[in-house]
Symmetry: C2
Subunit: 218 residues, 2 copies
C-alpha cells in the first residue's frame, strides 16, 4: 500500500497529504502491449509507474511513427492530465512495453493534492520539466542530427549495457521516426565497419566503444 515511499520526490511528502494520496488512488497491473492512453481514450487519472515502462509515441496519418519518450519507474505520465485539462485532441499514444505496475490517481485527488502539498507540486512540476526537456532534445535531434549518429545512440540506449538488442529494422525506424530502408542501409554500413553483427530481429554490438565514439561525434 505504501507505494509513495518508493518514489523519489514523493517519499518525503507531508504525512497528511500522503495518507490522502494513498487512500484515494488505486494500484493496477497491466500486461505488456496495452494501449494505456491514446486518441479518443479519455484519461481521467494521473498515472505513476512503479515497475516496467510505458512508451509514448506519435503515429502520423501516413503510418510513420516516432517515439517521444518513455515513462520509467518512479515517473509519471503527466501528459494525460495536461491534455485532459486543455481538452485538446490527443496526438500521442502510450503503450506498455513490459508488464507494468502503476498507480492511478483520480483527477479529483490530483487537484486536491496540488493544493495540499508543496512536495507534490514540486513532483508534478519536475515531471513537466523533464518531459519538456526530453521533447526539446528530441526536436534538436530530429531537426539537426545525422541519422547514423542517432542510430548509434539508440542502439547503445536500447542495449542498456548488454551486448545485443532484440529489435527489427522496422522497430528501430519507428523509434527514430525514419523509414525501414534507411535503417537497413545504415546497419549494413555499421556491419561493414565491424561495429555490429546482425541476424533476423537481433543486433549484436561487437564494438560498443566504436559505436560510442560514433555517437559522440556531434
Amino acid at each position: 500500500m505504501s507505494w509513495a515511499s518508493e518514489i523519489e520526490g514523493l517519499n518525503r511528502i507531508e504525512p497528511g497529504a500522503r495518507a490522502t494520496l494513498e487512500r484515494d488512488s488505486r494500484r493496477v497491473t497491466v500486461p505488456a502491449g496495452t494501449v494505456v492512453f491514446g486518441p479518443g481514450a479519455q484519461a481521467d487519472n494521473l498515472i505513476v509507474v512503479l515497475r516496467g515502462a510505458v512508451r509514448v509515441q506519435h503515429v502520423s496519418e501516413s503510418g510513420r511513427q516516432i517515439v517521444l519518450y518513455r515513462v520509467n519507474p518512479g515517473e509519471t505520465c503527466i501528459m494525460t492530465t495536461a491534455c485532459l485539462m486543455a481538452h485538446e485532441a490527443y496526438s500521442a499514444e502510450g503503450v506498455t512495453e513490459t508488464e507494468v505496475d502503476a498507480v492511478m490517481v483520480p483527477r479529483r485527488t490530483f487537484d486536491t493534492m496540488i493544493g495540499l502539498s508543496s512536495d507534490f507540486r514540486t513532483f508534478v512540476f519536475d515531471a513537466y520539466a523533464q518531459r519538456m526537456t526530453d521533447l526539446f532534445l528530441l526536436i534538436e535531434d530530429v531537426a539537426f542530427q545525422r541519422m547514423d549518429i542517432r542510430l548509434a545512440q539508440k542502439l547503445l540506449e536500447l542495449s542498456k549495457g548488454a551486448g545485443s538488442v532484440g529489435t527489427t529494422h522496422q522497430q528501430l525506424a519507428a523509434e527514430l521516426g525514419t523509414a525501414r530502408e534507411v535503417i537497413s542501409r545504415l546497419l549494413q554500413e555499421f556491419r561493414r565497419r565491424g561495429l555490429i553483427t546482425s541476424a533476423r530481429g537481433e543486433i549484436v554490438l561487437n564494438d560498443a566503444a566504436g559505436l560510442r565514439n560514433l555517437a559522440a561525434t556531434d
Copy 2:
C-alpha cells in the same frame, strides 16, 4: 494595475488570490530584440505577456536555429518555471519580437498562488498543455512533413492575413530549422508557379489561396 482581468483564465480568479497576485507581481516593458531568458540566465519569475510577443527558439552548436513556439498576449512562458525547478540546462532562449508589456510573478508568489487558487492552477496547467501540444505538432512537422508545405504554412501564418511578409530567407530558414539555400530554392519554385513575388527582405503573397491549397496537402 488590474491586469489579471484582461487575461483569459485569470479574469474570474478568486478575489483574495487575485489581490495577492497583483500586489506581489511587477509590470515591465521590454524593448524589441531583448533576450528575456536563455542559457545561463536564471529566470526567477513566471512571465505573463500582456502585449507583444516573445519568440522561443533553439540554437544548436552548429549555429542552426529553429523556432519552438511564440508566447502571445494572455499567455505565459511556463518553461521558465519548469526548467528552473528541474535545474536542467536551459537549451532554449526567448527573444522579444516587438516591444513587450509583461508581468513578472516571483517564484515565491507563484508557489503561493498554486496552493491558493484552483483557477490559477487551471491557468498554469492549461499553459503547460498548450506548449506540450505545440511541441508535439512541431515534432510531427519536422519529422514527417515536406519542406515546401511547411514553408507555405509558415508564410501564411507570418502574413496574418496581410498580403506580404517582411522576412529574409535566412529568417525563414531559422523559423523552420532548415538551411537558407533550401528556402531560396523553394521560394524560387513558388515564384515560378506564380504563388508569390519577392524582393530583398519582402515576400508578396500573390496567390494566398494557392498557398493554402498547397499547405493543406498533408
